[in-house]
Symmetry: C2
Subunit: 341 residues, 2 copies
């Protein structure tokens, strides 16, 4: 089977955005804001947004299951305070839960966290537990920059983040490192901020000994690892000068890259430079780049085509399409095994 480890619910009914706008309008007086119960979206409406979009494209392109999380650019952790984010994350995650309940064979959940700039990371624990234990989610998205492009939180190696890591290890779930909308005019959200965050997180891991502290911690760095694979020689050399072990030892037991790189030469580099054990199939489809590439006649984000065309052994291709996702997301693997898959 083909597991896409990176999908967001970008096609949610307009009612969700309207609810959020009311919440934002009432930031100065949250009591006047909407209640969670005010958001009413029926199952038919939910089903329709999936069947006509993500599921249609999954069938068209031939992927079987998507690890699905709330829309990344809408997380906007910089808005309001931890209460704002807590309510908003709960609503968004519940919608994902309903989708994974409606389509249990095609979608598995990954949680958005109720992060907020400067807030204690322990404020995320209840939502993680709820999503994993009650909703059956298999992973989380962790935003290394809740300020939205101002980068005011400590690096991911800082003990600030440890409460989340301890919970991840306890529940045996990975995190995808994923920022949200940039509210810094310097950074275009999907063209600069997303990619920069991937590179930044990678370097934060490289300069630290985080994986000595948490040997079982696992992160997926999306968008093909930002700039890291393209500059792999630079990173090997920097690690060497810092007297770190080779990157394969230092980082690759714990770090994984997805395949959201939207052209063949990029995927060729990724699969050549990064061991096949560390690459997970993903498309982030109906996401940042929704058009058709005039050079190929296919959707830019139809990444399965690039993996099929890359110089990979059948064994390595199977790891990328399925095996690695089942290893990195053991709760997904357990569920698939329970279904005889």
């Amino acid at each position: 089977m083909i597991i896409d480890c990176h999908g967001h619910y970008t096609t949610a009914p307009k009612a969700l955005e309207a609810w959020r706008n009311l919440q934002i309008a009432a930031l100065s007086n949250p009591k006047r804001g909407p209640k969670a119960a005010d958001l009413k979206i029926g199952d038919d409406e939910l089903r329709e947004t999936i069947v006509n979009h993500q599921l249609a494209k999954m069938r068209e392109r031939g992927s079987d299951l998507t690890i699905f999380s709330p829309r990344a650019s809408f997380m906007a952790h910089h808005i309001g305070d931890v209460e704002t984010s807590t309510t908003w994350a709960a609503i968004c995650n519940e919608l994902i839960h309903r989708i994974t309940t409606l389509f249990p064979d095609q979608f598995a959940g990954a949680a958005m966290l109720p992060q907020s700039p400067g807030a204690d990371t322990r404020s995320c624990i209840a939502e993680i537990e709820r999503c994993v234990n009650e909703y059956g989610f298999v992973g989380i998205n962790l935003n290394p920059d809740p300020s939205g492009g101002h980068w005011q939180s400590p690096p991911l190696s800082d003990p600030y983040w440890y409460p989340i890591y301890e919970k991840m290890v306890e529940l045996d779930i990975p995190a995808m490192v994923h920022v949200s909308t940039s509210c810094n005019a310097c950074f275009h959200t999907t063209g600069a901020h997303y990619i920069n965050a991937d590179t930044t997180a990678f370097m934060q891991f490289l300069t630290s000994d985080l994986f000595k502290v948490f040997p079982k911690l696992r992160f997926v760095i999306p968008h093909g690892g930002g700039a890291a694979p393209y500059h792999w020689g630079r990173y090997r050399g920097l690690a060497q000068e810092m007297k770190k072990p080779p990157l394969t030892e230092h980082l690759l037991h714990n770090l994984f890259f997805d395949t959201c790189v939207y052209h063949q030469p990029g995927i060729d580099l990724l699969t050549k430079v990064i061991p096949a054990d560390n690459v997970l199939f993903a498309s982030e489809m109906i996401g940042a780049v929704r058009g058709i590439d005039p050079q190929t006649g296919h959707y830019y984000d139809d990444t399965r085509r690039y993996i099929e065309a890359a110089a990979l052994s059948d064994d390595d291709r199977h790891k990328i399409f399925e095996g690695n996702a089942r290893r990195v997301y053991p709760r997904l693997d357990a569920r698939l095994k329970a279904k005889g898959l």
Copy 2:
């Protein structure tokens, strides 16, 4: 001949750093700080730092001429105010001028600018004119983030930068987009901030119509263009959704990438994805990555080897090694022609 368009004076005598430390120590009372004339470095000492380092490696690796600028990480525009930067830039540029005078066949100058967070960019004009008209420099380095990792300046497409662009067009010089030290703990200087800045600048150009306003403006984006070539499909797709022309039309008359990518697969991708007319040979040697790659037995930053091994026609290789640099830096070309080269 082989022109390296990206070298910094990273091996300056310790007296330079000592002077800078005195300047920083006196920030609260600049009158107590050192005078420019207090810095005393003899020609023999200067010569020695070059002959034993940059020049030795140029001979060893077979490059002929380096476009040479002050040490990037020492620019540190975030320190002090515009007066601080003005004095510091003048000192650093004068050292470069002395080196290009001592070694006129091997080095051509590129200026550091006296930028400062929030300062009017017109404060850079006098130093640009001095460096180009009096010192014979052939380009400048422009820091898109003088705040050192806090990204508080407007994007490079903003009229804030126009006074510098007008002067660049008037003098027919390009700028290399190059940040300095990060003072944001999230960003490792050479592993994250440098690469992120390249990607960020690229995206700032992509989302704007700057090159319609300044059709003759030319920028070199260093470090292989950050993440841009690796994600070229993403960028083609984003431009397409924004109804911009194809990137070749929209950006590649004005943007160039250097070859500071420290492994063969990265250079292979760069030279495959980016037209040969837009790639300039560079190594940034004795820079961020100074070690020997155990996989090859050669220095990571010995980038000539990668270009030699890349699948390029002789004509394209010549463009990358020499032709493009002479086109992008016409003042260098004029000087070489005057020497019959």
